[in-house]
């Protein structure tokens, strides 16, 4: 589907989702791996078996596993071996990264994000969410990582629909309102809602879908969701670091109650930021390796 060049009235989100054939997808293998790694009875073999169903994905996971970041003593050629050596959790993260990278490294004109802006933003948010979940012990770090990586997936669909048709950047220039309100005003929905609809379509856990839906508006969530709180704080920290700001920039509202609900204190803040930068920069090699593998 090519970009919509004009629309009268409000575009219908359900209709757009139904009729667009080139929407971002996460492979069914990755969804199965996510589900399997959360099951109590999962083993390295069961995860490896699932990954092997997708040879292209397996190849990319192996390239990541063999990247300089992990400094393995010998090259790994077998995904079962990769699961044993790196651990199920790491391989799950690599599979999610390998599956989403081709989408996340696109140019998104409507959000003024040149490649690899969205990828950097998503990866930073994922690693912040993981760090926060780890520190707070209120949410699964793996789920938080996946959630962070997919949080802005709705922007990709909106870019497919609206690149070239709506000047969101221009609309935001000099304005004093929240970016998400502007999106809603222009299109009748915003990227967080689109992300929710997409992740729901893929059958991801409801807690994760809801976290994406309310990532900019946590007070609107109807139930307590630590994953949402992790994502909201991760989004805030990523913007504080100035990563992948695009047209949204700092035009967000941060709700400090999310931090408090996670049981985090004032003193945790600087520690989380300081630890994160060391890990983030160490993992920069993954970006290079991903670019080569894409």
């Amino acid at each position: 589907m090519s970009a919509i060049t004009s629309f009268s009235g409000r575009p219908n989100l359900a209709q757009l989702l139904e009729t667009t054939t080139d929407l971002p997808v996460v492979s069914s293998t990755v969804l199965a791996v996510i589900s399997e790694t959360e099951a109590e009875e999962s083993t390295a073999q069961s995860v490896g078996r699932l990954l092997q169903q997708d040879p292209a994905l397996t190849a990319r996971v192996l390239r990541l596993a063999n990247s300089s970041f992990y400094s393995l003593r010998k090259q790994v050629f077998d995904v079962n071996e990769a699961v044993v050596i790196l651990g199920m959790r790491t391989v799950r993260r690599l599979a999610v990264v390998a599956s989403t990278y081709p989408w996340l490294c696109r140019d998104l004109k409507v959000f003024d994000l040149a490649s690899p802006g969205l990828w950097e933003f998503s990866y930073a948010t994922a690693t912040f969410a993981q760090t926060i979940a780890d520190r707070s012990r209120k949410a699964s770090p793996d789920a938080a990582f996946t959630c962070g990586l997919l949080a802005d997936i709705g922007k990709i669909a909106m870019s497919i629909w609206f690149d070239g048709s709506a000047d969101l950047v221009g609309a935001l220039r000099g304005d004093k309102s929240l970016a998400i309100d502007h999106e809603f005003e222009l299109f009748g929905f915003h990227h967080a809602e689109v992300g929710y609809q997409l992740t729901k379509m893929w059958g991801l856990p409801n807690e994760l879908c809801e976290a994406i839906r309310y990532s900019h508006t946590p007070s609107e969530a109807t139930s307590q969701n630590p994953l949402l709180d992790c994502l909201h704080c991760a989004d805030y920290l990523t913007r504080c670091m100035g990563i992948g700001l695009g047209s949204e920039g700092l035009r967000i509202e941060f709700d400090g109650d999310a931090w408090s609900r996670l049981g985090l204190t004032d003193d945790d803040f600087d520690g989380i930021l300081s630890d994160w930068i060391d890990q983030f920069q160490a993992r920069q090699t993954l970006f290079t390796d991903q670019a080569q593998a894409a």
């Binding site: 220039r173 805030y236 504080c240 700001l245 920039g249 400090g256």
Partner: protein, 168 residues
């Protein structure tokens, strides 16, 4: 060299004679630019946090405002600059558009970074010729050593010349 040198998070970069230094996408971080106009040595540091834990910056002194400036000065002196001749400009320390930090005021890291950088400059007894701190805009800061210009780019304003560090 005539190209641009990127100064990533927590990094300190020093150049001589010619070239540019660039801090891309400063959010709450602060970029400190310094010039010795006589020795033609320029430096930039990308500060992330106000102060090192227990005064120990680890292997990244550029990460913290209180350790970044002494480290920047030391690197510039090693390149031939004199501390007494340094002229500075700072930019960054933005905040998100709206926030309620509740019981955790430290989450206002942009404001804290700005204050810490000002305090560090005062402590070193250096002259800060211009500052562009706070607000709700991400910034890209470019320091052109050849001309001494400090250019700040934001989404709403575009490019503006913050100051010229060579001019008296």
């Amino acid at each position: 060299m005539t190209g641009s040198t990127l100064v990533g998070m927590a990094e300190i970069k020093v150049i001589q004679e010619t070239g540019s230094l660039v801090c891309l996408g400063l959010g709450s971080c602060v970029g400190i630019c310094a010039l010795d106009p006589v020795a033609k040595v320029g430096g930039m540091v990308h500060v992330m946090l106000p102060e090192a834990f227990n005064g120990e910056p680890g292997d990244k002194p550029g990460k913290f405002a209180d350790t970044a400036l002494p480290a920047l000065i030391a690197q510039m002196e090693a390149a031939g600059a004199r501390k007494s001749r340094l002229v500075l400009a700072v930019s960054g320390g933005a905040q998100v558009f709206k926030s309620s930090t509740g019981a955790a005021p430290k989450l206002d890291v942009g404001e804290r970074n700005g204050a810490a950088v000002r305090a560090a400059i005062k402590k070193q007894g250096l002259r800060c010729k211009a500052e562009d701190l706070g607000g709700n805009q991400g910034r890209t800061v470019t320091f052109k050593l050849d001309t001494g210009d400090i250019i700040v780019k934001t989404l709403s304003v575009g490019e503006k010349n913050l100051t010229n560090l060579r001019a008296a």
